[in-house]
Amino acid sequence: MTDALSRLLETRDWLMADGATGTNLFNMGLSSGDAPEMWNADEPAKIKKLYSLAVDAGSDIFLTNSFGGNASRLKLHDAQSRVRELNRLAAEIGRDVADAAGRPVIVAGSIGPTGDIFAPMGTLTHELAVEMFHEQAEGLKEGGADVLWVETISAPEEYKAAAEACHLAGMPWCGTMSFDTAGRTMMGLTSSAMVGMVDKLAHPPMAFGANCGVGAADLLRTILGFAATGTERAIIAKGNAGIPKYVDGHIHYDGTPELMGEYAVMARDCGATIIGGCCGTMPDHLRAMRAALENTPRGERPTLEAISARLGGFSSEDDGLGEGGAKRERRGRRRS
């Protein structure tokens, strides 16, 4: 039996995912410092509203409110014993919203990073990461998620651990990483290296890609990097609505709905199949993205120049795929 996302992908050549979770929840009164996952139990009506905002704005896929729902993150709120419950509730509320949508809508169980650093420098081991992700995955599965959605990962080790956890839960999954450091992930992975890693997984994701990171322009450069490898796997683009700016004592993202509409169309032309937003992407942005995707014919793959002309400059000169970056001359190796 195929899963709901595969079936939807068979009938459509692009799908729209959702936008920001945190930005929307703060607008609904979530206090900074509180774990958003607590609202799955304490404020279910608001979480339902969060999901409905995305569905009503035209999203085909939305992510559950469970990004920080692993034991390591919830421990910061002394809620590490509630992993299963909070994830199950996140997906259950999502299931209700999706089933009432009147069209196929995918509930994607969000799984964010543990926030820990892998050994030998940090405390995280593969086994520990798999165990934490698996616990979360079982909760999301129990609540009725169609697919698991690993996101904002920086370390390849963590991505691999998540893959194994999804396999243990017997769930199809998608997984994106955050490319925020000179076109690479914080841990130094390039876009093409991610493709290589994904292809080698025993339980590969049905779609992979990039989310968050710097701005919309940087994110599309990463998508071009994926596409240049000739990968056959569906690519996900989930970029931030511009870059946060500090104006008169408060913060706002400088990406307008119009700009995000352009971003969405360009993401599709770059080769992405699943297109959404991340931080700062509100329902107005999603509506503009949906309209742009529906009303704009497909175009040629955009050049880097075209991307920066429409969406703004890149945060770094290159993205690590070029020949540059000469390694330091060493005096000689002492071990291999």
Binding site: G33, P113, G115, M121, T181, A182, M187, G249, R334, R335
Partner: protein, 233 residues
Amino acid sequence: MAEDDNEIILSELDDDELTMQMMDDLYDGLKEEIEEATHILLDRGWTPYDILTKALVAGMTIVGHDFRDGILFVPEVLLAANAMKGGMAILKPLLIETGAPRMGKMVIGTVKGDIHDIGKNLVAMMMEGAGFEIIDLGINNPVEKYLETAAAEGADIIGMSALLTTTMPYMKVVIDTMKEQGIRDDYIVLVGGAPLNEEFGRAIGADAYCRDAAVAVETAKEFIARKHNQMSA
């Protein structure tokens, strides 16, 4: 260690070669080799302070530059910092004994409302790797926590981190409180975090915005040097 003819025997290198080798070994994150070389230099009569500055800090500066330039990434830098810490552990008691100048002490934490600590942890690890003393306040810190700890510890630097656009304005609350209490100039205030930028750092009155952990180390060193110059002037 590989048992071949090319094996480098640290104790057979002269001082210049040995310090160069230490820089390479820091670059490769070889903790045991750094510890061994530190002992050798001590045995040769080097002062702890010279070993710290001329070998370890100098080596970490190269690592920091290559991180800044996108040649090295976080995993390599953390290994290098770990190797550095190995040398530091040997030197630390001796530095205190000999009354050598301190690199500086930093109180660091994520601001009230912010639970995202990976960036803060990286900065703390790299600052320690560069020889600074770190008091880690963890996550979600109110202004009192920063200021009381900084006073109690006699810190030189207050470091604030935020990942959320909703929490970064709290940094201004901390700085404004320092101004009210007339202690703003007692500390170097460094801020960082994914959504921040230089403009924001200036707008809230921080001494500097640090783009990443390597920049944080460089900036801290600069400000501490300036502070020392002022004191001796």
